[in-house]
């Protein structure tokens, strides 16, 4: 029977460990699944774009490519220090976005699927949380973030 593996809410996907990128935005630690990250590069000055789209009001040039900027720091109500910034390339179906993060180089972590806690309510874009080190870190998804904020 084809549905057998989905019984009890378990799928082969859910059983796999989650590969997460841990980074910080304005001092707040967040995690994102690696498949939603396209890379990390030095931050280049963003150009403000007049916009009524929530949290999307700038573009950043990366070589010959122009990326829209998602202002995650504003959503989290923090500020990324101006002198030390990195650009996290966020993968999305309709094209990549740039997210400004702290200069701390993001790290990779494998987390057992069973260790992922359900998303706390009232945190847009958060699909779960997990303990990394001694810290409970929210796991963000760009898709979920988009649905809840734009």
């Amino acid at each position: 029977m084809l549905r057998t593996t989905r019984h009890h809410g378990q799928t082969p996907e859910a059983a796999k460990p989650w590969s997460l990128v841990l980074c910080s935005v304005g001092g707040k630690r967040i995690a994102v699944r690696t498949e939603e990250i396209g890379g990390v590069s030095p931050w280049t000055e963003a150009m403000p774009v007049p916009s009524l789209t929530p949290y999307v009001n700038a573009v950043v040039r990366q070589g010959d490519e122009i990326l829209p900027v998602y202002d995650l720091a504003r959503l989290l109500m923090v500020q990324v220090p101006k002198t030390e910034r990195l650009c996290l390339r966020a993968k999305r179906q309709d094209g990549p976005m740039a997210v400004c993060i702290d200069a701390d180089v993001p790290t990779l972590h494998q987390v057992d699927a069973k260790a992922i806690q359900p998303a706390p309510s009232g945190m847009p874009g958060v699909i779960g949380s997990c303990a990394i080190g001694e810290e409970e870190v929210p796991i963000y998804s760009w898709t979920a973030l988009w649905k809840s904020t734009v």
Binding site: P48, P50, T53, R61, D64, I66, R92, D94, G95
Partner: protein, 226 residues
């Protein structure tokens, strides 16, 4: 100073679009050259609230403020961009002009789909400009803006009231509110204080009459050398 910079005397070629690149704060905006009728760059003019183009009054609008950016602060670099298309007239105040560019149409990309608001109607695209990016303003949107028709109407009403006021006076009698005589091609006009409520609410302080260059139709962007 020529706005053409090092591109002096280079005519636009097929597949390119001539634009005037201006800055509003840290945002670079490209105005299609086809609608640009002039650039006002002398000191007093940038403070004008109303300008006249082709004999029609139009209100000077702060482009940054209209786009929701922090409004411009008066500086010597500030310019008023006069735009016209068909019967529409617009005058936009910008922080500064950066020059004319012949932009290869193939290098203009749409605004990313992540921008889902009304801004998609403000810009037709964007392109790499110097070490940053410039946003291509939608000429249709730019020309459809504002209150200029309203202002023109109220100014016309003001003028009518002025004329009625003058006619009502005895011949030879002077009127302090009569517009001063032309001064070097730039005539200052104050709307009458007797103009009805709408005009008063516009806070129209002065107008600057500008005439278009005679060679405006030669497709060589006469405003470029302003």
């Amino acid at each position: 100073m020529s706005l053409r910079g090092r591109r002096d005397n280079v005519a636009p070629t097929l597949g390119t679009m001539q634009v005037l690149v201006v800055a509003c704060g840290r945002t670079y905006l490209a105005i299609p050259g086809a609608i640009v009728r002039g650039v006002v760059e002398f000191g007093d003019a940038v403070e004008a609230r109303i300008v006249s183009l082709f004999g029609e009054a139009c209100r000077v609008t702060d482009l940054a403020a209209r786009l929701g950016l922090p409004p411009a602060v008066l500086t010597p670099d500030m310019r008023i961009i006069l735009c016209g298309e068909h019967r529409a007239r617009q005058a936009w105040r910008v922080d500064r002009t950066l020059g004319i560019e012949d932009v290869d149409l193939q290098t203009i990309t749409p605004l990313p789909p992540h921008f889902v608001g009304v801004e998609q109607s403000w810009f037709t695209g964007m392109f790499l400009f110097r070490d940053t990016v410039a946003l291509m303003l939608n000429a249709g949107w730019l020309m459809s803006q504002s209150m200029d028709a309203f202002v023109a109407k109220t100014l016309a009403e003001g003028t009518m009231l002025e004329e009625q006021h003058v006619l009502a006076q005895a011949p030879g009698e002077t009127d302090e509110e009569t517009p001063p005589a032309a001064m070097g091609g730039h005539r200052l006009r104050k709307p009458t204080e007797t103009a009805a409520g709408e005009a008063a609410s516009l806070d129209v302080l002065e107008s600057l009459v500008l005439e278009e260059s005679t060679d405006v139709e030669d497709n060589q962007a006469p405003w470029a050398d302003a």
